[in-house]
Amino acid sequence: MVAGLLPGVRVLDVGQGISAPYCAKILAQMGAEVIKVEPPDGDEARRMGPFPGDSPHPERSGLFLAMNSNKYGVSLDLASPDGAEAFKRLAAGADIVVENPPPGSLETHGLGYETLKTINPGLIFTSVTPFGNRGPYKDFKATDLVLYHMSGHAHGLLGAVEDPDSNPPIRAGGHQAELVGGMAAATATLMALYRKRMTGKGCRIDISSFEAMVNQLISGLASCAYGRPAPPRDAIEVEEAAAAGMVSAIGGILPCNDGYVAISPREDVQWERWLGIMDNPAWAADDRYSTRDARQKNSPSLWKLLSEWSSNHSKHEIARWGQEQRIPCFPVNTVLDLFNDEQLAHREFFVEIEHPAAGALKYPGAPYKFSNTELPLAARPAPLLGEHNESILGKLE
């Protein structure tokens, strides 16, 4: 049995979907004992997929499985007196409760922080909601799409476009706003847990996924605070900004004969070596490309020249040549490439877990290794609905 970093820490995960469950997942892989408390019809993530054969099944939803590995699971009807009582007993013995309800919904069952702290004063109670519990937007409904757009990220994702009015900003795939909310919750919760260890004090933590997303762009916010304009989307304005020296570094993707490669030979020394990889093409001596400044200002035409060369080579080949010359350069990988990546394989990044309904699957592991403590990354599969009702709730009686 691997103990992890947080032996003896007990967490109740009342979350659904992604944000709060992701916070609790992090706590579980750090070694806390996490009990997922689901309503009788199960966590919303059980209906989110992806499913094998695209056939919905509550025990085979990829997102549910990924967000809830290494947790125990009970099902409770918090609206019933018995369910509420059982929850209170669980909370009495917990260090942390994590939730992501519509604002106030645990409250409506008489199970909000104010109630729970009377039975467990040292409790850390973490709420993740789209906008937190204050401000003009506190009751607004939002999803990952809405948060990605409202926080400014969508305007940066596509890069320059010819006609912004027919080419709207888009979101990133994969629930990134929900994951950021969950990571912010885990960060704040672990800091609160440290304070609890030092002082015995509990607290309530209010996480706004909107702010967590905005906080990913603090350099952009600070630029605004210094009176600078927002980065443009319109291709002509982007070129003008580049010509005015507002683009700080060249970089991007080049087409290859088997996909794309991402490069950014921005420093003069890197550029020199990059030209060597391309067998020193004649155009490199042109004034438009001979200095870093000039390359930045003329990056659109430069990119065309680079693309002509790269189209004849493979992405892995170019990436290897670049890295051999110490130039930051990577293949644009598909998910399949990731499973074949020797670096990820060497580091044993993917973790295989056998699940009774979904079978053996490889899950993303932890991007960190602790020298003195092994993490319980594959302690148990995500729980079946109500799997530990008897072993956990039974013991309460």
């Binding site: 990829g62 890069g159 930051p328």
Partner: protein, 390 residues
Amino acid sequence: MSDLPLDGVRVVDLSWIIAGPTATRFMAAMGAEVIKVGSARRPDPSTRGPAFQAYNQSKLYCALNISSPEGLELVKQLIAVSDVVIENFAVGVIDRLGLSYEAASAARPDIIMVSSSGTGHLGPHKDYVAYGSLLQHYTGWNSISGNPQSEPVPGGLWADPWVGMELAMVTAAALNNRALTGQGQYIDFSMAEALTAGIPGAILDYQMNQRLPETMGNRDARYAPHGVYHCVGADRWVAIAVTNDEEWQSLCGVIQRPDLLPDPRFADADGRREHQDELDAAITQWTILFDDHEATRRLQEAGVPSGPSLDMCRVFNEPQLREVGYISQIRTRDGELRELPGLPWRFEGGEEPIFTEAPVLGQDNEYVYQELLGLSGREVARLVEEEVIY
């Protein structure tokens, strides 16, 4: 003494650029004493301007040339009286400087040392040089985003800020463990793996269905309508996500199209997804009449998840961020009052986080060398003269 969570924790911050400084900014605001260690010999590339202000609020800053023998000795003395040391140099640099975990833990046995690099500190590609923007492509993170059948999106700024928060998280986990067991840690952090961990759906879908992610712009595999809709003004859009039938009914009311409700083609999410082009056109007929904030207000009043698609400066101007105290005023040393970002959480009933402006190199030399390490003024003067404190 404060009541902040990391009160009493001292951090030696050898990190630079974005990811490491983002991590220590979280720690500093939550009460840790963060001492940024830098040198005029090799300045932090983001030393000036708004970005530096954003990433380095609330820190102390001392000057030290750690590649000199006396500089190395001093940083070890500083580590000996600290709890955490964090660095994000290229792999191998910290060892060559003589500050491996072995050396750091010799100075302080229970030190928590956090090392972040592009691909991690072990493995055949550990020496790969990396920028965050390129790692987003390498890790598959960008591969799940984009319009249908288009080339990979360039991707916004994601890798470094995300990793910055995660580094703060792992440090807090290690501090908890140290409080319990008394042991320190060396933490080998891979930025690439942090990004790949952010696309679990695509990774599982591939194994379940042998399928690579289909990029679908603003659309969703499950919900419809789901997109951004043009409003009054150039490049102005409102994002709308209908996640259930009730929201669909509300939306039809807001856009004054009750005629869509009885249409069996739109009765459930599957049907609405199939006929999304038609619905998008109908929704746009309404949104195009309104300012994006006004459209949002009307949609939210009816319970439809929605919000404007904002550029950076419009995000900055959002009243929500001021009313909750996320953006607050700080007087910077140029004499201006500037509205700078804070922390994306509130500890209710707790002390407010600490925000002071970003420091300048060497401003805390006296505190670090004389007060903490007990050097005399004369010794400090000599070390300055010899460009050790530099």
